[in-house]
Symmetry: C2
Subunit: 615 residues, 2 copies
Amino acid sequence: MDNLQKCQANYTALTPLTFLMRAAACYANRTSVIHEGTRFTWAQTYERCRRLAFSLRALNIARNDVVSVLAPNIPAMYEMHFAVPMAGAVLNTINTRLDAKNIATILRHSEAKVFFVDYEYVSKAKEALRLLMDDNNNNNLKKGVPKPTNQPHSTTFSLPLVIVIDDINTPTRIRLGELEYEQMVHHGNPNYFPEGIQDEWTPIALNYTSGTTSEPKGVVYSHRGAYLSTLSLILGWEMGSEPVYLWTLPMFHCNGWTFTWGVAARGGTNVCLRTTAARDIYRNIVVHNVTHMCCAPIVFNIILEAKQSERIDIKVINGKRKSPVEILTGGAPPPASLLEQIESLGFHVTHAYGLTEATGPALVCEWKKEWNMLPKKEQAQLKARQGVSVLTMADVDVKNLETMESVARDGRTMGEIVLKGSGIMMGYFKDHKASSKAFGKNGDWFKTGDVGVIHPDGYLEIKDRSKDVIISGGENISSVEVESLLYKHPRVLEAAVVAMPHPRWGETPCAFVSLRKNNNNSSSSKIDDVTEAEIIAYCRKNLPHFMVPKVVKFMEELPKTSTGKIQKFELRVMAKVFVQTKNNTTTVNKKSCQVSQNSIVGGYNNEQVLAASRL
Amino acid sequence: MDNLQKCQANYTALTPLTFLMRAAACYANRTSVIHEGTRFTWAQTYERCRRLAFSLRALNIARNDVVSVLAPNIPAMYEMHFAVPMAGAVLNTINTRLDAKNIATILRHSEAKVFFVDYEYVSKAKEALRLLMDDNNNNNLKKGVPKPTNQPHSTTFSLPLVIVIDDINTPTRIRLGELEYEQMVHHGNPNYFPEGIQDEWTPIALNYTSGTTSEPKGVVYSHRGAYLSTLSLILGWEMGSEPVYLWTLPMFHCNGWTFTWGVAARGGTNVCLRTTAARDIYRNIVVHNVTHMCCAPIVFNIILEAKQSERIDIKVINGKRKSPVEILTGGAPPPASLLEQIESLGFHVTHAYGLTEATGPALVCEWKKEWNMLPKKEQAQLKARQGVSVLTMADVDVKNLETMESVARDGRTMGEIVLKGSGIMMGYFKDHKASSKAFGKNGDWFKTGDVGVIHPDGYLEIKDRSKDVIISGGENISSVEVESLLYKHPRVLEAAVVAMPHPRWGETPCAFVSLRKNNNNSSSSKIDDVTEAEIIAYCRKNLPHFMVPKVVKFMEELPKTSTGKIQKFELRVMAKVFVQTKNNTTTVNKKSCQVSQNSIVGGYNNEQVLAASRL
């Protein structure tokens, strides 16, 4: 039978682009994208993408060229997920919360040929381009090359061509150069049908990890990987047909955990959001009858802390009882009380685990019907586990860090979580060393760097990042386990536990904590009456003694990366300083995080994402 | 980015075998298979499959060897869908309703190395083997080779090794040779873990089409195609997690429309059925709380015509209201009244279209919520359409038979339905000519041979098989359209319309009809008072005149293939005879179909599958 030949009819490249083609054919008149006053159908979205692809080709964009985008969750951002790969190029969505320096680094590393910039980010983009030019100039001066002129596109350096995305509802006329997104779409040829993808092992997207400790790494997805991961997520979340999907997760996070492509696959409706303000979330849910949304746990707080005037009852729409809005979340498992609060408002939460390298969620905590009979608290504990592999993941395991043998499925023995499947990245762009390290010398498993256990029922639970494990007197302490307890304390808002050097035990846990404001809701930011001793006593009551933090430091806010992850490496430095200086004051000054005040525009200035989550 | 290398971690072959591995890891203790008193968990099913794969290897089964099976929907049949490809072999499930001659033809053509036979089919299998031996002897005598001895396995001819599958609940001790299925499982090594599939373009299954007009053709599926089609069907039907799946569709039909693999993918429970008697269907639905089933339309009749004593109310189980049982059906679109009846009992019907070459359903009539507002009759009309492509089908189109241009999406212009996607077969086994014809000289589309239209909403509707179109005075008449009207007549049970030669118009429609018994339920089989003139008048009232059958013949039962498809080619022969002999009696003798009386054991002795369905 080996002589049966592949042909176009029976062997077509797997690519998310077919989802859009199919949506345009099968759901032509169904609403594809809504953004305030703007609405498109799937037929229109397909045409707009083809037009844009045509215009990109007209700019000499060639196969595997990188097209970078700095934009919030607007229709253009959605369309580029199809239009850019249609043109044969690779989509690079940039975290809008990065500063100009980081953006410049990404543009240089990715060798972006085109740089789309939402009008709100023009000044940041200008600054990033200036940094790039300065760099180029310095390099050229060193090499004795004449200083380039002020014309960015006439330099001998390949600065990207900039295209501004103006507001589609109320144009601002803000520009950076001559090109504008809607004009590109408008001037594209509506009869252009790009040739299909021939090889599914072709890059479709380039996503830079936030890099808590090192330079950002460029994670490359193939068309095949993106396609299969998209199917997995729809299946794992049981997202049926005609979903109405609210964009509370940035599309620049692993391409919106693949739902950029997934909503097209399901013939659903994308409800775009420029910001994740509570008012906008409630209003859009009710007006458009939203069925699904993904988000970081911080969005739960935004929803719960909404003012009365911002809230709308989402359980009843047009006098009819509505099914709960399905939320898929990653990162810090929401504690039982938070879950109960959020679900009482008319949401239903599913918990996932993943990382950029696995194209978003790799495990989903699939609910078992038998769990419905358990007390709420137990349900929350079960839901907080990271769960089982998504369907197109070929294999997931937890292996002993040294022998690389599978650990016992006892819910206690820790090991490194390893993954295998076509949804895993092609590798890191221009970083062979990092790719080799991630895949190991046999290339047989992708090593996540996360430490977990497998429960007897086959469900996996993360215990820590490899590098965050604290080894005290030879015992492994999961920092996440200690943090989880701290999060259960009614006054704790944020918690992070790191290793602190110790002369006898090698390392001991050191906790950093920020507190909730007092119940009287006073806006005072002064640290109140909770003491280090009280927190330690609380831990002693609930943890084995060797796991109890020896030191607890209070902060107004913990230091975070631009994606809202707590920067443990900074805390580790601080913990070392405490030891050296015997500094025992229980309050440290607010450590400002890298997030600029402006970045609130993009939402999430306060994410409670544990280090365990790298989505 | 082209230098990023595939490795085992990021490029794993797509194969349904991963569904079983994953089910064993994630749903180890969940019930996988139920058959009367027998129950297995997913951990057990995985172990049993590995043991069986080991035993097959021990019999020197090598890569791409064919393993044939003649069995109803029993646990062994289910397990072989994994165990046989695990051993590197290709699974060939044989239609249990075929006669010994057809079975012998398949065994010879497939060069089966092993032949598993359910105890109930031992005599038929014996007869098939005898025919094979006779043939061999004759061939050898012709070639001057000495006549072989009576020992089937010691002949120089490669007769397959026979393994009987005894009843797992109440063993019969019936044997054909020495080997028995449970012993094979028992003696297999439980610690055997077969190496994985390296190349997803490797055959997994060989399914012979029923061949209404020619020798059966062997359709080969790849691991990749089976995998992707399985995902499509779960998605298209929106089958959630923990389904309880009742096996009312034979697993030998396109591997149970991929749900053999799909139930494992969803961590569901397979409820096996040896027969599709009404009593067994009702009882199993209630006892096991069945959520899903697939079936040919004949099963609707079995359900509706059940005696009072066989019926159980399936809408309430243990005092609790139960969601409807989801039914996926192919073939003849159920008329509105039948739909209403079946759904009132507690079922919900989805309609699909497919063919063996497309690994089962290629289109599913995805329901649109807006249709819920329409009158029931209109809903039935919409539901009767074949719908939209399943998600992993890369493209579906309807093309002009001559120009191969896409037809207008007007719901009227007919053309040939063509398909493209990785779910399409690898080709026909040892039949390059047929493969080339199916894929065309460019290999760009699989040509279904079915004629259809595309409605303005993108939904496809089948009008006929190419060869069944009647061309009368230059007008194309869809035989299916006339048949659909006939089926709506309250007294018509079965209907088939074929071309009858006509001196003036070239062809005219000739209808063959069998009638429902009178309402008084008399068991008399004599044709009653409905006349040809009445049927013609009914057609005239509801059809354009050129489409009205000139002749209507009544039969007790229409001739059918072993899979229950009406044999139009026989009717065509009869229609020609009518013209030649001017035979105008309105009743013809019952034409016995190929189904033997024994085959009722396997269910469906009376399928109303229109020629339009080739699932």
